[in-house]
């Protein structure tokens, strides 16, 4: 008889692994892409020192070649370097917004269960009101406020987008956490811990929240895909990440303006944006059915 392995098997879903490999590739591209392109191209650049993301390197609208795998854009800049820098922007925004969403969402969700009744219901009504409202509309309004007031938000060029998406990101997590915590708090192991004198804080942080880590990780992946899409949408509309910063959304918008003559310009940013969203959704769905086999994809 074969010995039964004690170790839990890892997820088998091939789509999950495809997604994970693509995301690792994207992270490396984002981290090292622009610098590597600088090293490769600085010998043929008329700009010294050469920054691959902002400086022109050749004639505009070069098509694919060995030197420029994605060609050059309307200002003669290297498309590959800008795609890599766009990945950097998308991942940064996605990650920071998701951290905000998790911190606020988990706090609000736990408060919704354990806080005094009037605080809990006030907080959850606010969550419901925000959840019932299209995120992108609220984000557009927040960007509108920031742009109209020309306020200098600390934190650089990405700050307005991160602020707008951060404010709208947490309600779905708060609702999930609240529902889960409400059922978990009456489970035997929590009640037992309470009986032995564990405080509510200890119970929540040591017993309840660790139970949720897996499913929150899965949801976070899907939410990051949504955030990256929202950031691209805002940048596409011209109110997100501002030029000369290269967001995939604004690259698609630029390429669209020259679509009549150079349709191939659209391929790279569209492909990278779609693949990233696919990959994150695959990873999220795969992780969710791994951590929570009962649930099916939504």
């Amino acid at each position: 008889m074969k010995p039964v392995s004690k170790r839990r098997k890892g997820p088998r879903d091939p789509l999950l692994w495809f997604g994970a490999v693509f995301m690792v590739f994207l992270v490396f591209l984002a981290m090292f892409g622009p610098t590597v392109r600088e090293k490769q191209l600085s010998s043929i650049s008329k700009h010294q020192p050469y920054t691959s993301v902002y400086d022109d390197i050749a004639d505009p609208f070069q098509s694919r070649s060995a030197t420029f795998p994605f060609g050059t854009d309307s200002q003669g800049r290297d498309n590959l370097a800008r795609i890599a820098a766009g990945a950097r922007i998308s991942l940064t925004v996605g990650l920071i917004v998701e951290i905000i969403a998790l911190v606020v969402g988990v706090t609000v969700g736990v408060l919704g269960v354990f806080a005094p009744r009037w605080i809990a219901s006030a907080v959850m009504r606010l969550t419901d009101a925000m959840f019932a409202f299209p995120d992108i509309l609220l984000a557009i309004l927040i960007i509108g406020i920031i742009q109209t007031s020309k306020a200098q938000i600390p934190g650089g060029k990405l700050a307005p987008v991160i602020a707008a998406l951060g404010v709208t990101s947490w309600p779905s997590i708060a609702r999930l956490v609240r529902a889960q915590v409400a059922t978990l708090k009456d489970r035997e192991f929590v009640v037992a811990a309470k009986a032995t004198g564990a405080s509510t804080f200890y119970n929540v942080t040591r017993h309840i929240l660790p139970q949720l880590a897996g499913i929150l990780l899965a949801i976070a992946m899907i939410d990051i895909a949504g955030t990256i899409l929202a950031e691209s949408t805002l940048s596409f509309l011209g109110i997100g990440v501002q030029a000369p910063e290269p967001s995939w959304g604004s690259m698609i918008n630029n390429a669209r303006e020259n679509m009549n003559s150079y349709p191939a310009q659209l391929i790279a940013p569209c492909l990278f944006l779609s693949l990233t969203c696919f990959a994150l959704n695959f990873v999220g769905d795969g992780l969710r059915s791994y951590f929570d086999p009962k649930s099916t994809s939504r």
Binding site: R125, D128, A129, M130, A132, F133, P134, I136, L137, L138, I140, L141, I143, G144, I145, Q147, T148, S149, K150, L229, S232, T233, F236, L237, G238, I239, G249, I252, N253, A255, R256, M259, N260, P263, L266, C270, L273, S274, C277, F278, N281
Partner: protein
């Protein structure tokens, strides 16, 4: 006359109405404070660049802009209810109400056409996939609906424009004011693009609900009694499976109105969405307020309508809510 049935109907509807009013209150408060948080108001816009602070203060007093914010908020809501959003800060200082009247019909028309197409095609494809579960038809419908949910509009748009406008030359590239063909040709691509995502969502949900319904006993009974297949699918199964789909149609329609921001911008259509985005780039707060408030209010009202419609359509929901 109040009988028990109407009381049972009234309670959930009242609850939903309260929640809808609260949501409207929330969105109006947010848009009101959007203007309060930003420098510059109607008074500075009227006074012009060269005005002294005293002139601005006088105009502000005449317009009641120096009164406490609760009073200004009530005035803002009452005016908005009458379709009065003030005047644009820029250009000819057009009345924002007339901007809305000029741009809103196109947005609503596009969204309505899109949701009608999405509902019909989505329910049909979803039913088809459920009937032929696990076969080629089902698989391909699933793949396409997954793509439809994940691919963003502004990635799909250039693809369709490239194929249908540039290669085949069947449809115009963008919206123009001097239309050479009938408006229908100009609307095809925007409507299809807007419809793609709700169509995918409706397809997936219809498929899931139909598969669920097919396993229930009344379907087996009906099959045993010899009910014809078409009648079984559309009269027996679909009528039971359709209610969650109606909810999705309602929420999708709301999201379509906001999705029009992207599509209108892509095709340079003179709708409310593209107007709002332009206003953000200029910093034209009254137009931004009107755009957000109207789109948001329509979204809330539509969801409210669906929520109220459901317990009327389905007695099971009525029972469960008491």
């Amino acid at each position: 006359m109040l009988n028990s049935a109407s009381v049972r109907l009234a309670k959930p509807i009242l609850l939903r109405l309260t929640f809808g009013v609260l949501s409207l209150f929330f969105i109006s408060l947010v848009t009101f404070f959007a203007a309060a948080l930003t420098p510059g108001d109607a008074a500075t816009a009227i006074a012009g660049d060269k005005a002294t602070p005293e002139t601005v203060a006088r105009i502000r007093h005449e317009m009641g802009l120096d009164r406490p914010w609760p009073i200004r908020y009530v005035k803002f809501v009452v005016d908005a209810g009458h379709g009065d959003f003030g005047k644009s800060y820029f250009g000819t200082r057009e009345d924002v109400g007339s901007v809305v009247r000029r741009t809103l019909p196109l947005t609503v028309k596009t969204a309505t056409l899109a949701i009608i197409i999405a509902s019909f095609v989505g329910i049909l494809l979803g039913t088809l996939a459920a009937v032929y579960q696990h076969r080629v038809a089902d698989r391909s419908v699933l793949v396409f609906s997954t793509l439809g949910v994940t691919i963003p509009n502004f990635v799909l748009a250039p693809l369709l424009v490239y194929v249908f406008s540039m290669r085949l030359g069947w449809l115009p590239l963008i919206w123009t004011t001097d239309m050479t063909a009938s408006e229908f040709y100009y609307l095809v691509l925007p409507v299809l693009l807007l419809a793609s995502r709700p169509m995918a969502l409706i397809t997936r949900l219809t498929r899931a609900m139909m598969i669920d319904t097919f396993q229930q006993e009344f379907i087996r009974t009906a099959t045993a009694k010899g009910v014809p297949r078409g009648r079984l699918i559309f009269r027996h199964a679909l009528r039971n499976a359709i209610l969650p789909v109606i909810t999705t149609i309602g929420t999708s329609f709301g999201f379509l109105l906001t999705g029009s921001f992207v599509i209108e911008r892509y095709f340079v259509m003179p709708g409310l969405g593209s107007t709002t985005i332009e206003a953000i780039q200029k910093g034209d707060m009254p137009v931004i307020q009107a755009g957000i408030l109207i789109t948001g209010a329509m979204f809330i009202m539509l969801n409210l309508l669906v929520d109220i419609l459901l317990p009327i359509l389905d007695p099971r929901i009525r029972e469960s809510q008491i």
